[in-house]
């Protein structure tokens, strides 16, 4: 694929891996924020190319992993209403709520449909005037503008049978939360390239100087990730810190201005709990008051919230890089991809699923040798 394959050339990737080996003199701990970057690291086995001094922590940039249980339960409740068509991206279908997931609801007869774009949900609403269409809007700042456009269009077209269940989360507050915690070990960040395509990276300068950590805006292909890690280590080795943009073919410092404008019109910053982590201040997006008619949370309020269940999952600690999945007593035993206890075992890019599939062998061999 053009502008993808070129960034997967093994000769180029190896050049940067060699260069990284040449400049690394001591241990460094870095976090790649975005789940898409985690996916690439795991899929292409990039960790094996890095000097052993470099520890990569998989960050919380995975909407599947951090969407709060309350939001999933609300989506499940709405899906159970007979006249509702619940539209969702495919990623969310297997994520466990308190008792079940959307795929199981579909199997039991709920009208749950996978969409590839929020405009598909608008079309479904227009094609089914006798049904109520609810779009489960999750994701980070990359997905929020497309979801905003759906609500904007619904209002413009006077669609009475469309609403949005919004559960967006924002990246910078999560990074701030991480950096402020007393046991933070992360010394540098690979920032999420597509999030920054929307938001830009001006706001990262304050974080960089307040906490003296380098932040590299990084893309998603193997070459991007190796370059991103290199630029980060280069600064760490020199004792400097700054925001560097590796993903220059996509990201401008000011970001996407027209997307930001519609975001501000449709959404407002709200409190948001992050699954497994807890509430992070001002870290979510909810609909503005003028779009209240399209807020599915208001149209279909939950009568009662499910009591929160502590099933032993330590996903919060794993998402913040404070524990490895193998440290969890449930890992690989009760908690597997077929029977996930928490979201990082469900997601393609979740740390637990990645460990289960790729590091399990090493755990197995260690156990045998003990």
């Amino acid at each position: 694929m053009k502008y993808v394959d070129e960034f997967r050339q093994s000769a180029l990737v190896k050049q940067w891996a060699d260069a990284l080996h040449a400049i690394t003199t001591r241990p460094w701990t870095m976090m790649e924020v975005c789940g898409g970057q985690t996916h690439a690291i795991v899929k292409f086995g990039l960790q094996a190319l890095l000097p052993k001094e470099i520890r990569l922590i998989h960050g919380p940039g995975c909407p599947v992993c951090v969407t709060p249980v309350e939001s999933i339960d609300h989506a499940l409740y709405i899906a159970s209403i007979p006249e509702v068509i619940l539209c969702s991206f495919g990623d969310m279908l297997r994520v466990p709520g308190s008792y079940t997931n959307l795929l199981a609801m579909k199997a039991r007869g709920s009208d749950v449909r996978i969409v590839h774009s929020p405009l598909d949900a608008i079309k479904i609403a227009e094609d089914n005037p006798n049904k109520e269409v609810v779009f489960f809007a999750v994701g980070f700042e990359t997905t929020a503008p497309p979801n905003a456009m759906a609500v904007y269009q619904a209002k413009k077209r006077g669609l009475k049978n469309f609403s949005l269940l919004a559960s967006h989360v924002l990246v910078p507050p999560a990074l701030e939360f991480l950096l402020q915690s007393h046991d933070n070990e992360v010394q540098g960040f690979l920032a999420a390239g597509h999030v920054c395509t929307i938001t830009g990276y001006r706001h990262y300068h304050r974080l960089v100087h307040a906490h003296q950590v380098p932040i590299v805006v990084t893309g998603f292909e193997p070459l991007d990730i190796l370059q991103g890690i290199y630029f980060c280590v280069e600064m760490l080795e020199k004792g400097t810190y700054a925001v560097v943009n590796q993903y220059q073919r996509c990201v401008l410092e000011q970001g996407n201005v027209s997307a930001q404008a519609l975001l501000e019109d449709v959404f407002q910053v709200v409190e948001r709990p992050w699954r497994g982590i807890g509430t992070i201040a001002s870290s979510g997006l909810g609909l503005q008051a003028q779009y209240a008619d399209f807020d599915a949370a208001l149209r279909y309020p939950m009568k009662e919230t499910m009591p929160s269940q502590d099933n032993g999952c330590i996903s919060g600690l794993i998402l913040l890089g404070k524990q490895k999945p193998s440290a969890c007593p449930l890992f690989g035993k009760q908690c597997t991809p077929e029977t996930p206890f928490g979201a990082p075992m469900v997601s393609n890019e979740g740390a637990c699923a990645a460990y289960y599939h790729y590091a399990k062998r090493d755990c197995f061999i260690e156990e045998r040798m003990l």
Partner: protein
């Protein structure tokens, strides 16, 4: 029995009714108008409860499979073609020459008779092309839900062409792993129809019989240790299952596995891994190293095998049986079974 089909008796807009499955007049009409004209042979024409068969060997291979694909018509085939080739392929994977098939239909009330006729014609073409007779069958009709469902079960009888069984337990250290062609066509052809993906060069399902290639390998005296056709779960699942059954470690080279540009692009867009996408006309073969080159030459004589390639080797017994993929960066990843079907993702 009069097997002439009068065009006036088959109205294109006519649908399957519950009565067609109840064994009475309507069932007889369906058999006379649709099934017999397509499948007629001496055994079937007797329309007895069971088929009396003359099988010239005691090394019989017997298999069964059911087909429920939606949409029933897709680029490159339909459920009928799949129902014949899929079962022929199961026989071929055991090193058996196919002889007879049974065929049972479960059809939803409201299904178009013209669509049924099209599916049955497709089965007839495949059966005739492989000199296989459909000798017994059944039809049931279930109550309407959407009116578009048809389920087909075919069971197949074949005669083994080999002395030593073709089985994962026969896989040996040092064996070469051959793949008969590029992967992911069937799954993506189906997804394209379901998701409305538009291709500049349309993806055509690889749905087809593997029997001719297998027979050619055996005639060419290739010592085939194991065969597996790639179906749901794709190449990765087949390799993981075989590694576990054989208790061996396999190593494959990712660059040797062919994926067409259209399939690759569609997978990137949906967030799918081509290694896990369904196929219906591809297989892997485990052969001794010294015969790998010869086996590939045999496969390349066939249109369906022109992109056959050596993709890996059997490292040996392992206490942690695995299928390991090496990529062009020099790193590796362990293949595993998916928990459920791949779902389109945005993350």
């Amino acid at each position: 029995m009069n097997t002439l089909s009068c065009p006036a008796m088959i109205d294109e807009s006519q649908v399957i009714l519950l009565a067609h499955g109840s064994g009475g007049k309507h069932t007889s009409q369906l058999i006379e108008n649709i099934f017999l004209p397509a499948f007629s042979n001496d055994t079937l024409d007797r329309l007895h409860d069971g088929a009396l068969l003359d099988i010239p060997s005691s090394q019989i291979v017997f298999t069964t499979d059911s087909y429920v694909v939606q949409p029933v018509f897709f680029p490159g085939g339909d459920i009928g073609k799949l129902a014949v080739t899929g079962t022929l392929n199961d026989l071929a994977m055991c090193g058996a020459k196919p002889y007879y098939l049974s065929c049972a239909f479960i059809i939803e009330e409201g299904f178009l008779q013209s669509d049924l006729k099209r599916i049955v014609e497709s089965m007839k073409r495949e059966a005739e092309a492989h000199s296989v007779q459909i000798v017994t069958g059944d039809t049931k009709v279930i109550e309407r839900q959407t009116g578009t469902n048809i389920f087909i079960n075919t069971s197949g009888i074949g005669i083994s062409m080999v002395k030593d069984p073709i089985h994962p337990h026969q896989i040996q250290q040092g064996d070469c792993i051959l793949l008969s062609g590029d992967i992911g066509r069937h799954g993506m052809a189906i997804m394209a129809k379901r998701e409305g993906l538009e291709f500049s060069s349309p993806v055509i399902s690889d749905c087809g019989s593997l029997a001719p290639m297998i027979e050619a390998l055996l005639r060419a005296k290739v010592e085939v240790h194991c065969l597996r056709d790639l179906t749901r779960g794709g190449l990765a699942t087949a390799l993981v299952e075989l590694a576990e059954a054989a208790k061996m470690e396999f190593r494959m080279t990712e660059d040797a596995i062919g994926v067409s540009e259209s399939v690759n692009s569609a997978c990137e867009i949906l967030g799918f891994d081509p290694l896990y996408v369904a196929n219906e006309g591809r297989f892997v073969a485990f052969v001794p190293k010294h015969q790998a080159h010869h086996a590939l030459a045999v496969l390349k004589e066939f249109d369906a095998g022109r992109e056959a390639n050596l993709i890996g080797e059997v490292i040996g017994r392992s206490m942690f049986p695995s299928a390991i993929l090496h990529n062009s960066f020099g790193t590796e990843r362990y293949l595993y079974r998916l928990a459920g079907d791949q779902l389109p993702r945005i993350c």
